[in-house]
């Protein structure tokens, strides 16, 4: 508590800010340190901490999404690489940092919500960081309202509303990321406001720089925790843009100083966030150097840069593919799953189910597992030998090759026969000579797509290659469909005749590679079964790895998982839904994400009142009728722009998202909406309650309203904290809305 008090108090140092040349003069005067302590702030912080940290390690069981974030914490502890499409790594890293402080070794199986934590899991420290951020949101809300030039009373009200918001409490007491996100978002807003208020009197001072830089840092942290932070970042950029525009119009400033101002903002609000964002990934990739469960999603080159896994196999492979090389070919797109070009003894059925015929030649598929049948040999069409000559003759861009399937020694072939599932494309087969009028067409041109020059050599792992059929100019492609039973549910490979530009499904790269040595089929089979020898490692630059990982995070699509507690954005405003986070199987104690109904309703009313009043004033001002003084109008616009704007940017985009949405996605927007309540209330008291009587009535109403908010908070706190356990009747009484899903055990 003492630390908190010091943290939030204002220090005024006297005598310290003298120029350098007079450094020693301060010795002549006594050093006086005056500390101003804002008791409001201290009290709020203490209350926030108590409220969020109380009995933090209860329940000692996996609650809701802890099961999701927990697995990443464990992977961090074990330094194993993973890809999470839900967001950038900074949030996961913060949670993992909590685990690191608590000495977590990562050994816990995160498989089920409600599972008891074993003794080695430091529950308290894992949940500490989110809880701290949640607690600090309370004083931040206070500070923001003060910086917006509202009264301390209004600011105190805003902080209390945040303090007694059940949903925010639930979300911050668990190992989840929303409270961290909200903390950084509020911090960014606060520091921008501080910076803006300093702008008028003292630009380019230390304090000015500090708050400006802190804005950028907090923004990048918010974005780094969840991509949702981007919305607030954009809002701040827009506000900063408007303010800079006013600055440009300020003709008392010289051109040079305007330029300096703009450059400083550009540095702090654009360059630094980008750099910070990159640094999160740098730390992420440095920490996670071992191969793990998500390797397969990444390209071969990326996998080769991880310790273990593919790197162990590919180390020491020859780099340049030569005639006679034995290779496995991986599809670069790898959707719907990563797979390798494959063939096996079985042939295509003579007739498919729908009556179309096939060539009845050997099947060529894409197979999602490592297999000896994935090996192919690169052959020079002009020569018979299947071994690498000495010195090896490398294959270059534009060369024409034949691909021989290692185990069956048949040639990769395509012809004018419709593919099994994609009738508009050609069938790919391994050629079987049935002695009928169907000649072998097994010549393929190698086109290296990511070449630097036209004479580039085909490289293992690094080169992305298209195989263009010489006779028909069809391109070898993974269609994404999976074959029926006769094809063992493997993926279909086709020859795309009308290749419309480049698509990753047409690109292949060599993953495993060795120089073939044995001409005899028997020896070669042994050779194919033997593991490749080892020795060089491929080092990918950080930027290449970052780009790939970022791209995968953004494009990775999970199967659309419908969730029992998913909801639509329209349900959020009125809180028509809740989420049951945890349920004790014996006692029936439960934790729900459920908000303070009164606060939510008041916030909605406040938004409505704000928008109506704003439009009213705006239209009247256009007709030159000013209802409120100019400075009050400025205050009204800036506070509303921030709060309503923050609410809108954090809420409206969800209507366009197609992913599974939950109530907790609304919490950042809700925070902004709550900040609006005191803004509207103070405006109403100041400008609409003219007489003293009305003012007193209004204050009395205020007190009653605050007390009822506290009451609602107390009523729902058993569902927020998970204790005390309620009886079925009490639970039924808490079901204020029909649509709420409160778990009542059958007697």
């Amino acid at each position: 508590m003492v630390t908190a008090a010091v943290f939030f108090s204002h220090f005024a140092f006297r005598g310290l800010n003298k120029p350098l040349c007079r450094m020693l003069e301060f010795l002549k005067q006594p050093v006086v340190v005056t500390a101003e302590i804002n008791v409001n702030l201290v009290a709020l912080t203490v209350m926030g901490l108590v409220n969020r940290l109380w009995a933090l390690s209860y329940p000692r069981a996996v609650v809701f999404d802890e099961v999701y974030y927990g697995q990443f914490v464990s992977l961090y502890m074990k330094r194993i690489f993973f890809v999470d499409d839900s967001g950038p790594p900074f949030g996961h890293m913060l949670l993992a940092f909590g685990g690191y402080l608590g000495g977590f070794d990562g050994n816990f199986l995160w498989n089920r919500i409600g599972a008891e934590y074993s003794m080695n899991v430091p529950v308290w420290s894992l949940r500490l960081l989110p809880a701290l951020s949640g607690a600090l949101c309370v004083p931040l809300a206070y500070q923001i309202l003060v910086e917006l030039h509202f009264s301390h009373c209004a600011a105190f009200g805003a902080a209390l509303l945040i303090l007694f918001e059940n949903s925010l409490i639930t979300q911050s007491r668990l190992m989840l990321l929303e409270s961290v996100l909200i903390f950084f978002v509020l911090l960014a807003i606060l520091s921008y406001l501080k910076f803006y208020n300093l702008q008028k009197c003292s630009p380019f001072t230390a304090g000015w720089w500090f708050w400006l830089l802190l804005t950028g840092v907090a923004c990048s942290c918010a974005v780094g925790v969840k991509y949702m932070g981007l919305f607030t970042y954009m809002l701040l950029l827009a506000i900063a843009g408007v303010h800079s525009w006013h600055l440009i119009g300020d003709q008392t400033l010289s051109n040079v100083s305007v330029l300096c101002h703009l450059l400083a903002r550009g540095l702090a609000l654009v360059v630094i966030p980008v750099a910070m964002y990159l640094s999160f990934f740098y730390v992420h990739l440095t920490l996670l150097y071992r191969s793990g469960p998500h390797d397969q999603i990444m390209t071969s080159a990326f996998q080769a840069s991880l310790e273990g896994g593919l790197a162990r196999i590919t180390q020491g492979q020859p780099l340049e593919v030569a005639y006679g090389s034995q290779i496995t070919l991986r599809n670069v797109l790898g959707k719907p799953m990563p797979c390798w070009l494959h063939s096996h003894k079985n042939t295509y059925p003579i007739r498919y189910e729908n009556g179309r015929g096939s060539s009845h030649q050997q099947q060529v598929t894409c197979y999602p597992f490592k297999d000896v049948n994935n090996w192919w040999i690169v052959k020079d069409p002009g020569m018979q030998q299947l071994v690498v000559s000495n010195p090896p003759r490398p294959v270059r861009h534009g060369h024409i090759v034949q691909l021989v399937h290692g185990i069956t020694t048949r040639y990769l072939n395509t012809h004018d026969v419709a593919a099994p599932l994609s009738p508009h494309s050609q069938e790919i087969s391994c050629y079987v000579d049935y002695n009928i009028s169907m000649p072998a067409q097994s010549l393929w041109r190698v086109e290296i797509v990511n070449r630097e020059s036209d004479t580039d050599v085909w490289k293992t792992i690094l080169s992305e290659v298209r195989f263009v059929h010489v006779n028909t100019s069809a391109v070898l492609k993974l269609s994404g469909a999976s074959l029926p039973e006769w094809g063992y549910r493997q993926l279909e490979i086709i020859g795309e005749k009308l290749s419309k530009g480049y698509h990753q499904s047409m690109l292949w790269n060599v993953e495993e590679h060795r120089y073939g040595k044995s001409q005899e089929q028997k020896e070669r089979e042994v050779e194919l079964h033997s593991p490749t020898q080892a020795d060089i490692s491929k080092n990918l630059s950080f930027m290449a790895r970052f780009t790939e990982l970022q791209w995968k995070i953004l494009t990775l699509k999970n199967e659309d998982t419908e969730h029992k507690y998913s909801s639509s954005p329209l349900d959020w405003i009125t809180m028509d839904t809740n989420i049951a986070y945890w349920f004790h199987p014996i006692s029936g104690a439960q934790i729900h994400l459920i908000g303070n109904v009164l606060t939510w309703a008041s916030a909605n009313v406040a938004t409505l009142v704000y928008v109506c009043l704003f439009l009213w004033y705006l239209l009247r001002r256009r007709r030159k009728i000013c209802d409120i003084p100019e400075d009050a109008w400025g205050l009204w616009v800036s506070a509303g722009g921030l709060c309503v704007g923050g609410w809108a940017v954090n809420y409206l985009p969800f209507f366009m998202m197609e992913k599974t949405l939950f109530l907790y996605h609304y919490l950042p927007a809700l925070t902004f909406q709550i900040l609006l309540i005191p803004v509207v209330l103070q405006h109403l008291t100041d400008h609409l309650c003219r007489s003293q009587l009305r003012k007193s009535v209004f204050s009395a109403l205020m007190v009653a309203w605050f007390s009822s908010i506290y009451l609602v908070y107390r009523t729902f706190s058993p569902l927020t904290y998970g204790e005390p356990t309620l009886s079925a009747a009490e639970l039924r009484a808490l079901r204020w809305k029909e649509s709420w899903d409160i778990l009542i055990r059958k007697q």
């Binding site: 440009i248 003709q251 419908e562 007709r623 197609e658």
Partner: protein, 784 residues
Amino acid sequence: MPCEGTRLRFPPCPTARTPFPLVLCAVGPGRRRLPRVGARMTLAARCRQAESGPRCGGLRQRRPRRPAGEPSRPSPPPRAWAPLEARVGVGVWAPLASVTLLSFASRFYRLSEPPHVCWDETHFGKMGSYYINRTFFFDVHPPLGKMLIGLAGYLSGYDGTFPFQKPGDRYEHHNYIGMRGFCAFLGSCLVPFCYLTVLELSKSLSAALLAASILIFDTGCITLSQYILLDPILMFFLMGAVLSMVKYNSCADRPFSTPWWFWLSLTGVNLAGAIGVKFVGLFVVLLVGLNTVYDLWELLGDLSLSLVALGKHLLARVFCLILLPLALYTAQFAVHFAVLNKSGPGDGFFSSAFQSRLIGNNLHNVSVPEHLAYGSVITMKNLRMAGGYLHSHWHLYPEGVGARQQQVTAYLHKDLNNLWVIKKHDSNTDHLDPSHSVEFVRHGDVIRLEHKETSRNLHSHQQEAPMTRKHFQVTGYGINGTGDANDFWRIEVVGRKAGKRIKVLRSQIRLTHLATGCILGSSGKTLPKWGWEQVEVTCTPYVKETPNALWNVEDHINPKLPNISLDVLKPSFPEILLESHMVMIRGNSGLKPKENEVTSKPWHWPINYQGLRFSGVNETDYRVYLLGNPVVWWLNLVTIGLYLLMVTCAIVAMKRGVQLTAELKELFEVLLHSGGKIMLGWLLHYLPFFMMGRVLYFHHYFPAMLFSSMLTGITWDTLLKFFAGCLSCFVGRRVYTYGMLALMLLIVYSFYLFHPLSYGMVGPMASDPNSPMTGLRWLESWEF
């Protein structure tokens, strides 16, 4: 004659502030004499003087200073480019006529080639035929475009018999020129519209000519206008709306005059046309809407206008831009439904009530047994918009999706698998046996529904439904009608009392599962491939009165009951209007790209990355390839960057309080306001595509391309005027004229190079050195 020197001295840039006295200066023997003037003396005045020859020396001339803050707008000072502009007043028709002529010539040239179905003609030609044959069909676009195509075909003597089966089918003796000609006519009108719009916005003839020539000589616009497609019709209405919006804006000084009303209401008409062709027309509605809001905002700030006058303005706009288009749009649908009165391929997408309107549909003038009885064979249709029939088939739910029992889905089309038999829950007797007496089903009865083809019972249990996890799974269960207690359902009619009989079509039925208390419903979600992409059917435990959980009986077969002709509920017009919109929206969102399919991305379009094959693949074919003229498109692209740069410079200069001459101010005005409107149009017609999940094609960019071309005209005109203003009048005029000429020649030459793209290529591909297109395949992604 006083002279300052023998060397030619250019007058200072018009931004200079000091006024100079008019001094004539001798330039040297044989040269023309240039008057030297200051900034107050505008460049144009100088030029006119230069043209009229040297004045007598010593004449001092200063324009009187205007008092600051003069309320009335100063009359526009003549400019350096005045001679070019002088034609605006006099020969306004000559350039317009020549532009129109060129446009028509380029669009109608080789219109009948190729004489086979090209690309999407297979859809829109077919739909035109449907109108001629009056058969009902379903399409994701509103009807106006196809109706006009049908009308054009009808008027030109096409009889609607050509099947339009697939691209490449030869027309033979069928008359297709009428429909193509109609589209080409509308496509040709784009050019004069664009010309007039730019002329109105910039008041500069050369800007208008530049924009028009870009459209005339763009291979993409030509190709897109030459076939039976919706795009020329859409773009016609879109440009029409923009033109009339611009016109009514420039009538703003004479509100409520006849031209003002004319253009305002014409805007509304065109808006209705634009959305009536494709929903993309909404973007132009948005553009006009934003423009009107801005307009009203300006009027609101004008304190000389009384509130009553303001109200009149508001009402006029509400009437012309909201009510009128809405009425016209509705009228289109009224015509659509009136014309298409025969049953056709689109029936199954609509509700039973809707189908009963269509001649030839089995529900039209239907005569069926009125009351449900045990043993009746029925089909049940879900009451939600575009809901399907309750359906089952010989396929099981895959492993991991609930119990491995037979699938029950909702299916949009009529099918034998939609038939169900109503049976008593406790007996398996054959009610159709003549020895039994007829027993009617009554509200509140417990029944069993047996699937006719597979003899399985409609069944539900406490397993998760495949998509909506909160609901229970519905399956087909049992062998030959023998199942378990989970096959029992209580049948109820909404708003009726117990014991009443249940009516075909009119009764809204709810089926409650007896064991779990859940209600049979259709969630509207599409099942994955294993469910043949049919719609999910679930049993919802949440008792809600939504149409999702209500059904009606559509077909009803019971030989033991007398058929009664039912005067079925004829749906009212608003009902069918609403229903057809719901069906269209669902259809549009269903057009999703398949996995691993190469699709066109919005960022490809402005860089002309890849075109579309309209006809022909092989060397011997007559090949037409939809691709923009690359020179024009890249010029457009560069111009957008240039425009943004110029605007930034202009507004920063103004914000920093740089003193500008009246001339520059006027240039900026055109750049900011006129250019801004066009830029907004481009953004509105381009950016939304980045957020669309449906399949996109290259031709979706063409509306945006129209705006981009107009912007090019305005921007280059302004830029050249700016440079001309900085130089002396003589050089300035040269720069301006030659600059414009060079741009136009460039466009014409590039059209000469690329014209085979639209007028057809035969012979070897571009990769062959003998082809006429050799060396023109500048991007590897172009396929010609």
